[in-house]
Amino acid sequence: MSLRLVEISLDVLTTVGPLRYRTRFGPGLNVLAAPNTYGKSTLFQGIIFALGLEGMLTSSRAAPLGPIMTTVADLPGNNRAAVVESSVTLTCRNEAGKYLRTRRFARSGDVQLNLIQTWAADSEGGLESAERIDTYVRLGGAAVQDLGFHRVLAKFLGWSLPKVPTYSAEEALLYLEVLFPLFYVEQKSGWAGVTPRMPTYLGIRDMLRRSVEYVLGLSTLDRLRALNALKDELAEVKFRWSTAVERMESAAAAENLRAAVSRSMTGQTQRVATRIEADIDGTWTTLEGAVARWTARLGELEGARIATAGERTPQSQVELAEAEQLVRRLGGQLRTYTEQMSYVEADLDALRARLAAVEADRRRLKDIQRVRALGSDLGVAVLSDDLCPTCLQPLDDRHVATGEAASVEANLVLGDAERTTLIDMQSVAERRLADLSRARDAISQQLDHARGQVRLLRDELVTESAAPSLVEVREQLWLRERVAGAERVQALVASADEELDSLAERYDYVRARIRRIEAESTNEEDKHLLDTFNRSFREQLGLYGLRSLPPEQVTIDANSLIPTDEGVELRFDIGLGMSASDTIRTKWAYYVALLETALKSTSGHHAGLLMLDEPRQQETAKISLAELVRRLGAAATEGSQILYATSEDVEDLEGFLEGIPHERLPAPGERLLSPVGWQAS
């Protein structure tokens, strides 16, 4: 459903008196022609402000309006006056013929900036008697809560905003601030770069692509949502897998056993049943084997009469010597393992520190990439292009001449490779540490047992000869405990193994569905829309006189939805032959092609509104501009509303507009806002 601007009123109360600009908008092409500094941008920014959409331009919470609306107003006759109160009132209509009026104060002693007053009615006349509802904007919940203005506006437009992936784990709504950059190009920095400027601070992944998909109504967005749901399911399956594995490992460790189970998730074909092992005389053997051995020995002991201490003396003496030797041997082994563990821990510390440094540098390099974009906006060549500001030679991004420095991008690739290696080394070291720790625990337990045995044998050798042998009694008890513990672990592992089997099955199913969705080719409707988008885009490039490269070589990539030159993202680059004026031509073509295509889409979500503030930048040829105006006129007759602000020479403009139906927005006086009912002195 589209949005039609009906009327706007900018009202400023100064210390000297009120100022106002009020106009109605026509349904098609609206032209505001006035010299520079007249205040054309104030009108456009006023529309954005009244719709609470300034977040599309900046993360700043300040009103995006100039001093005339916020601090000091220039008055006729070079006078100035302080602004006491100012507001923008905008009336809009939707495709169903319903009206919405919004009023927002840019400066006021009583009303906060976040508040938008709204009135809704079935007719324009009905707005006068409609009840006022106060809504809020630029606060949490503005897009989802009932009184959030962007929820009200989205409902008015009949749009249900989809959820899309962000750079964090959470999903976010495809906010209106992310869609409106496709409908409005502001003068200050909107014309920089080939693609629309997006509010990256919102942290939405592939922001431009998601917005264009929604505006054109491509099914890729639905596919993405299905894919995300499957990926969430996959994450849940993985979480349950690791929980089950941890449960098995901790149960085994409690009985001084070890579980051989895959920590990383596998499908059914690679799934191997868990193996539990016990340390028997320093060798890890299967639990079944160990249990058989313990049971046999238990049977032997239970089947025979318990000997007396006296009968057992010679044997006890031999066993005491053996046990003492075992204590010495195990003590040595324990020290070796502890020493090895401390080496591995030191390695791990070093690896963690290096990984932290690599990640910090990676963040810094990513920051550099973003600062470059700011440098490009601010026109600081040393930041954006690494050009020396005095000799204009390439700087190579460094100060010291110690060899050629790698580019930030190459450095990032290298850093990523190093990071992967470090993560791998860290996981190997962690595994080794876990193995050593398990082995040390097993030896420690054996040592305790051996020490206990030594104490027991010494006691037995000094005890009464007729008393039953404590060693044999103790061994029986120990064996019973081991067998019972092993049975508990086996039962737990059997049930956890069943869970792992069903998780492996679910893993295969989810992976197969993800693969199927990813392999799905673009559907026919999408293909048709993308063809139309591309055709219109290239046709316009030809009409506007793109010179840097042949128009047929430029395409809108079906995946990224940005203009590319033989698969490489198109950007302003003198080195690659893309001139600044051709960047502007490409931008015109992109916006207009998107509007034309979206209006043909049955499931598209274009507002049917395009606002271009001073599109003639970089001394773009007049002939190109004439073609643009003709194209905008054609789009307007197809049902779009277009607002076009320009400071073109009057005669030239008359020539461009000849034969094109349009409305001229009033531009009286020296400034957009003029005194009402009082004479400025």
Binding site: S60, D361, I368, D377, D386, D397
Partner: protein, 185 residues
């Protein structure tokens, strides 16, 4: 020639070689060539980061200006998280017996570049002051969510309006602590 044995996957290992035999490694299948490769350069040594960091520092200093000595310490703190932790610790728990001074070897070049790019200016007394362009850059960085967060976090910790007097009060003055003075006057 019978003494030479070609090394291959099927060749016996050296322990099994007959006495006097030597292993001959075959020539590589492709020609070996070397070429100079661009060296990786840490983010903190890159002009872009350094210029942005200087602008952020000056934006956080009183009157948007600072002395070279202040800049050396703050750039040193910003370039490494460990350095930042030292400054933060001393700033919060300043003692009369400690003084921190640090040197950033690339600062002179950074300032020369920033001056040439119009991001900063130098006053006759040698203080470096942020220009309008530098201020816009610092503001843009502050407005961009998630950009240079660590650096901004440290500067915010130091108070956001760092004066020279306050800075040396917190970080100490070399020499004074030896004379037993407890604080600056």
């Amino acid at each position: 020639m019978s003494d030479w044995i070609e090394r291959s996957s099927k060749a016996p290992n050296s322990a099994a070689l007959p006495f006097g035999a030597r292993v001959h490694t075959p020539a590589p299948l492709t020609p070996v060539a070397s070429r100079p490769t661009a060296m990786p350069l840490a983010g903190r040594d890159r002009a872009t980061w350094r210029l942005a960091a200087v602008c952020l520092i000056l934006r956080s200093c009183r009157g948007r200006s600072a002395t070279i000595e202040q800049l050396h310490v703050l750039m040193w703190a910003l370039r490494d998280e460990a350095n930042a932790a030292i400054v933060r610790e001393l700033w919060d728990n300043s003692t009369a017996s400690q003084a921190l001074r640090a040197f950033d070897p690339l600062l002179d070049d950074t300032l020369a570049l920033a001056r040439a790019a119009g991001l900063i200016k130098q006053r006759p007394n040698g203080r470096q002051v942020l220009s309008a362009a530098g201020g816009s850059l610092a503001d843009s960085i502050r407005d961009t969510e998630g950009l240079m967060e660590g650096e901004q976090r440290l500067l915010a910790h130091l108070g956001g309006n760092i004066s020279e007097t306050r800075m040396w009060e917190r970080l100490g003055v070399p020499g004074r602590q030896l004379q037993g003075r407890s604080s600056l006057r």
